[in-house]
């Protein structure tokens, strides 16, 4: 694949990540549509892509005291257990084609949640009140 194209994909993903909207998901989707790589290889690329950017961001956040160390350290051990289960299933148990479809369902749910969250639904309950 063209190197300029790859840099552009990385840029878009970086912009979306920095805005907190799931840049990793975009990177996986776009690389999936644009390359012949299999799903696990693409997911691996995204994980590695995340590491340097996360380290850089974490250093900035530590300086600004944005990280709640206590909360983080109570979640991490359980997260590691989940990661072992999830990564093992992706790597050894699932065919790439199925993994792609399951990822699609996940992206669909996240997309619907993002689209429909913080909409004021109160007008549905009372048809006479004007929607804000």
């Amino acid at each position: 694949m063209n190197i300029v194209y790859l840099i552009l994909i990385g840029m878009v993903s970086g912009v979306i990540s920095a805005m907190g909207m799931g840049g990793g998901t975009v990177l996986i989707l776009v690389l999936g549509f644009a390359s012949e790589l299999d799903q696990v290889a693409i997911q691996g690329i995204n994980l590695l892509y995340f590491l340097p950017i996360a380290v850089f961001s974490i250093i900035c956040h530590i300086k600004n005291k944005n990280i709640e160390i206590k909360t983080a350290s109570s979640v991490i051990p359980f997260g590691l257990i989940g990661a072992i289960i999830g990564a093992t299933i992706a790597n050894f148990l699932l065919n790439g084609m199925y993994l792609k479809k399951i990822f699609g369902v996940f992206v669909l749910l996240v997309g619907l949640y993002t689209l429909l969250s913080d909409i004021n639904w109160s007008f549905l309950k009372n048809p006479n009140s004007p929607a804000k």
């Binding site: 805005m19 549509f33 995204n46 359980f78 257990i81 050894f92």
Partner: protein, 117 residues
């Protein structure tokens, strides 16, 4: 009770992030704002600190089977390092709400393509 919630949130975040190689933050950030009552900025920062070790572990598991494609990884990382400060800047000057809705539509369309084609 709080410990149990942290355990469930942790396991689900790790599982999703390990299974899909992404998406941990999409679970963890809203959990931290709703359950732990952290403000959005702190939730995003704390979620990065949680997901970094989870991603390292997942990468180790992934690389036991397949090797790393450096020709693709390096240009994408270069792009990411350029895009991240742009995103941080954009976040200060425009509302991310409308962007998030547009982005949601993109995700739904992509998801349908993934599931059915």
């Amino acid at each position: 009770m709080k410990n149990l919630k942290n355990a469930v949130v942790g396991i689900v975040t790790g599982f999703i992030n390990g299974l899909f190689g992404a998406g941990g933050g999409l679970i963890l950030v809203p959990s931290l704002t709703k359950i732990s009552k952290l403000p959005q900025k702190k939730a995003m920062a704390t979620s990065l600190a949680v997901i970094l070790p989870l991603s390292i572990l997942s990468v180790i598991i992934y690389t036991t089977k397949s090797s790393i494609n450096w020709q693709i990884l390096i240009p994408v990382v270069v792009g990411g390092l350029i895009g991240t400060p742009i995103g941080v800047y954009l976040l200060k000057i425009i509302s991310s709400k409308i962007l998030a809705k547009l982005f949601a539509v993109f995700m739904i369309v992509s998801a349908i393509r993934l599931i059915f084609f």
